[in-house]
Each structure stands twice: as structure tokens, then as C-alpha cells.
Symmetry: C2
Subunit: 210 residues, 2 copies
Amino acid sequence: MKAFKIPEATIVRLSVYSRFLEQADKRGIITISSGEIAEGVGVSPAQVRKDLAYFGEFGTRGVGYNVKDLLHHTLKILGLGGEWPVIVVGAGNLGTALVSYRGFRERGFSICGLFDNDLTKIGKKVGDLEVLGLEKMDEVIAQNNVKIGILAIPAKVAQDMADQMINAGIKAILNFAPKVINASEDIEIRNTDLSVTLEILTFNLGLQRQ
Amino acid sequence: MKAFKIPEATIVRLSVYSRFLEQADKRGIITISSGEIAEGVGVSPAQVRKDLAYFGEFGTRGVGYNVKDLLHHTLKILGLGGEWPVIVVGAGNLGTALVSYRGFRERGFSICGLFDNDLTKIGKKVGDLEVLGLEKMDEVIAQNNVKIGILAIPAKVAQDMADQMINAGIKAILNFAPKVINASEDIEIRNTDLSVTLEILTFNLGLQRQ
DNA sequence: GACTGTGAAGCCATTCACAGCT
DNA sequence: AGCTGTGAATGGCTTCACAGTC
């Protein structure tokens, strides 16, 4: 690995390239150019090359990139290829949907714990997972060496649950609660507020109306 | 409204400020400074002021911003305040979770149609919505003047469904399928791939390990 | 001829620092 | 004294354009 400061936007795109390459590979495509990738994912060819160049020289001048080879590299860069155990806190609609979400499994994420504090939910089955009480969280995290947690709970309790996760050893949190979560520098937090995404749409719809 | 080109990041933050102000208002706070907002949402005070300044002068020097007033302005800028009818295509786990998601209702989004092509799902009830066949989509969009559609379907059919939505009059799409959707310039598309978000986490976890 | 890899240029967003108001 | 609003400075990402390679 070369440089130190890689733009976050590059990582996001790399993840998108990676999936695109997966599809290309499935279709039997052997070689692909930066232009073809660019067209497939909606960015410029130069952007694709720049992004990949952060991590090495994967292509052949005059030819392009070998799909299988580049796919392998992108997966490795993203830390994929193995299995990442993940826990989900919140067994409401969103939480249970995430547990069953195929996209996670396809990319190597396996949900190994689903927790809630609601007694009416504890013990229920979601797929082949049983909803557990929060007191079981530490144990599950330790046993499976879980580093990634997903929060699918109301805003009010989001910070508390994040703290509890972090205490138990979680190093990265994907937060769906509509509330910004704070934690120390060494914990990676990503806030994905679904309403915010819709509100970008309404903002732009508003501009069109003028 | 002043300038023309507003950074997208500004809109994202504006939406976050807006929700933060909502919470502050509920707690009875009358006046708030850029520093307090900044701390609450994890950005710099200068950033808050710059963002707001794109849209007008909402504060009072030496004092700060009136919470209710600023909240009202942010909602208006984002195109909120009324009701936005929204349809969801895909009545799988994610689709049904989105239909029931409270966060949408709280910000003025109301799901008025849920569609699927799976005969075993059509007719089922999700909350007080009935899953409809795709052939009913045009009618629902027209009747409710729907401009926003959400895609919660497999990657394979995502582009087709997007095209069908656009033909029926949809102007903005929130796509959860792990596939980049293409459409003409005047259609606003936002791709929210849940795995991509997790993969940013794994990338950063990878860096830590070194 | 085709396509990658990359320094340089251009562009855009964020931060700084301070004038202006209360 | 406190805090906003903003031009200027900085920093960072993207695009350009071309040398290098097959």
C-alpha cells in the first residue's frame, strides 16, 4: 500500500467498482478498460484510473485491466474476501430487514447477533437468528470477535447503545438512527440517516420547480 | 434564494442541522449559536455559518440563531413542511421495513404505494398498505401526483423498474439496489448501497490493523 | 492505435480571521 | 464581550493532457 491519505470518495467508488467488476466477471468478461468501468458506474475514466492508482498499478497500457485480477485487488483493499461477523442492535422493522438482507451476505458480512431490549421481541426468530437481550451482547461480541455493529434503533437510545457496543469491543458502527453519534477517534462511525437521503431529493425537486 | 451552485455536502448537513434544531426546539431551547449546533452534529462552527449563509442571513450578531425561526427556514429550504407522497417498489424485507419506517413520516414523507411483481406478495397487507402489482403503479403515481420513488429490489431488475417509474412521472429515485442506476439529467437519482457503507468501515478497520 | 499511469492545472469546499452588529 | 457573516487563504479532489507501454 502506497500513500497515506486516500480520499473517502475514492473508497466509496472503489466499493462500487468492486461490485461492478463482480458482475462483469460473472458475465465472463476477461478484460476491461477504465472507460468501460467509468460508463458502468457513472464517473469519468480519469477518475477510475486515479482511484486505482492510489493502490498500485493493476492495468496494462494499451490493454486495460484483467477483470478477475482487479476484482481480487479491490476486494483485498476493502478488507473483504473473508467473513466479517456483524451484530445488529434493534429488532424493529429495519433491524430485522438488515438481518435478512442478502447484499450483506454476498459481500462477506454475516450477522451473528440481533439484540433488543423489548421483552416482547426477545426470543423471537428472525431467519435462523434469535433476538437476544442486551445483556447477551458482550458475550456474543467476545465469542465471535465482532468488530462491526449496526444500530437500527430510535434516536433517543442510539448514543447509549453505541457506548455499550464500544465498551464491549466494537470498533466500527453503522448508525441508522437519525442522530449523530459521538465516540473517540479510534472508533469508526458512519451515520446513514435514511430521511437525510430523501431530503436531498426534495431539495433538488424544489430547485426544479422554479 | 441567493447563489446557484450549492455544495451537495451543504445540503446533507442542512438536513442534519434541521433535525438537530427540531430536537433543540422540543427541549425548549430558544436561541442557539453556530458553535452549539456544530458541537451537536460534529462539524466546525465556521462550517455551520457558511452553510446557512448560502441561503440568507438568519442569525443575529452577538446573539445567535432563533431555534424556531432557523428550523422553519431549514425545513423550507429542504422543501419540507408539507407532505411528500412516496412509492416503494419491492415488498421484500427492506421494502416493507421502509414502509413502516417512522423517520420518514416524522419528516413529512408518506408512503402511498407499495409494489411488487411477486404474486405471493401481492394482496398482502403491510401496515395499512396493500401490496399492489406493478400494473397499478402508473395509476397510483398519477392519482397522488407522486414525484419520489424508492427502489428496494434486486440489482437485476433495478434499471427496468427505474425506467418504469420515470415513464410514469417519477422525478426522483432513492435506489437501494446494489447497482448504479442511469437516467436522464432531469431525474434525480441517489444510490444508497448498504454494503458500500459497511465496506468503508472494513477498509478503515484494515488500516488500523497495520 | 489503444489504454494506463501521473504530474500539473483547475476547481471546489473548508477553514481562517476579522470586520460588523447587538 | 459575544457571535454572525464573509472575503481571503488554504487544502483537497477532480480533470486535463500527455508520456509511457503494449
